[in-house]
Amino acid sequence: MSARLVVETLREPARCERYDAAQWNALIAAARAEQIIGTLACRLDGLSLPVAAKRILDDARALAEVGRTLALWEAEAARRALAPLGVPVLLLKGTAFVAAGLKAGVGRSIGDLDILVPRGALDSVQDALLAAGWEWVKPDPYDDAYYRQWMHELPPLIHRDRDRMIDVHHTILPLTARITPDADAIIADSEALQNGLRVPQPNDLLCHAAAHLFADGEMLGGVRNLWDIHCLLEELGTDGLEARARLHGLHHHVMRAVRLSHDLYGTDIPIDWRVRDPADALFKRRLLARDGWGRVRPKWIEHVFYLRGHWLRMPPAMLARHLWTKWRKGYHPVG
């Protein structure tokens, strides 16, 4: 299973100096599938690599750099649009890591901009974004009353000129009706960046990452989510994490995420957290389920995996000419 190869190489980069061509091909395919090739490239920087591998990884790093610029600009554009409202605007996920200069942001590919705002400010935030050039992705979001009532975010918005999506959350991902993270506490205890945008405090970044890891039952993107958690734990420590996780009703998930991070990436965690839970093995297996072609194996359900976070968009007409895909009905931006 080549996701295992990705994990092992991230954990112990020097191993790659013994890899043969087959292992490199498998590593690169799986790393791309897990959207972690930029991070991998940064981890392997400076090691003795075959020329072809070095070229590929250098390209991945350069791509991540441009992606970082585009992501930070999206955050800046949102900041400019929302500043007059005077409400706290928190960056989440990859953009937060990069904006805060965290290790979890190194080499990361970032797709959409995720922000968290107070629930009461949702309407004015929505109006400010629409006025500043963002548009609804789906044509009639107001028909979708369900979305507004039950989801933890606005229907998706995309900027009409820059063609990038923004997801506006008012709470972090609730996993079941019984788990209700304390969004007010996240906002109240957030930390300010120099430009006025905010990021969740360290334990909330961890809780969010853990909630996100288990939100998708197939654990697609799990290798990367778990690497984020590993980096956050290593850089920010574990003080107060358990208490914070209990506050959000996420103790079970956070502890599992921490154990998996220790198991896969060797994260240094307190001894009494290293318990054996039989279900961990199942999650681990799902996490590592990519083969030497980057395919998820075994396939429990039919799906076509795609690169989220791929920010390059081709004009649909041009793509059609390249690929003669006249049968396509609608073009979905990749990521």
């Binding site: 610029t69 930070l72 600009w73 800046e76 554009a77 400019r80 000129d161 820059r162």
Partner: protein, 91 residues
């Protein structure tokens, strides 16, 4: 109504290349390219140090350059476009 006062992105953040009669601008913070013609380069120049609204900017440009069809409303519209592109911001 004068409208908002604008400041331009610092010149060091923009790479500017003349392509015939048009100027191509690469805005480093957004990694985006903009193709602009006069008077946009002149506007960006004028707004480097001093924030101005459309009226003040028009006066400034008229003093410096020969401006055809001096129209504050269309200048205000250009400034709004430049703001949307990220090349100027409300001061």
């Amino acid at each position: 109504m004068a409208g908002p006062q604008y400041l331009a992105e610092p010149a060091r953040r923009i790479k500017s290349v003349r392509l015939g009669g048009i100027t191509a601008l690469f805005h480093r913070p957004s990694a985006r390219t903009h193709l602009v013609g006069s008077p946009v380069p002149e506007i960006l120049d004028a707004l480097q140090e001093t924030a101005m609204d459309a009226n003040a900017l028009l006066t400034f440009l008229q003093d410096r350059y020969e401006v055809a069809d001096a129209d504050p409303a269309s200048l205000a519209a250009r400034l709004a476009e430049l703001e949307a592109a990220g090349l100027v911001r409300v001061a």
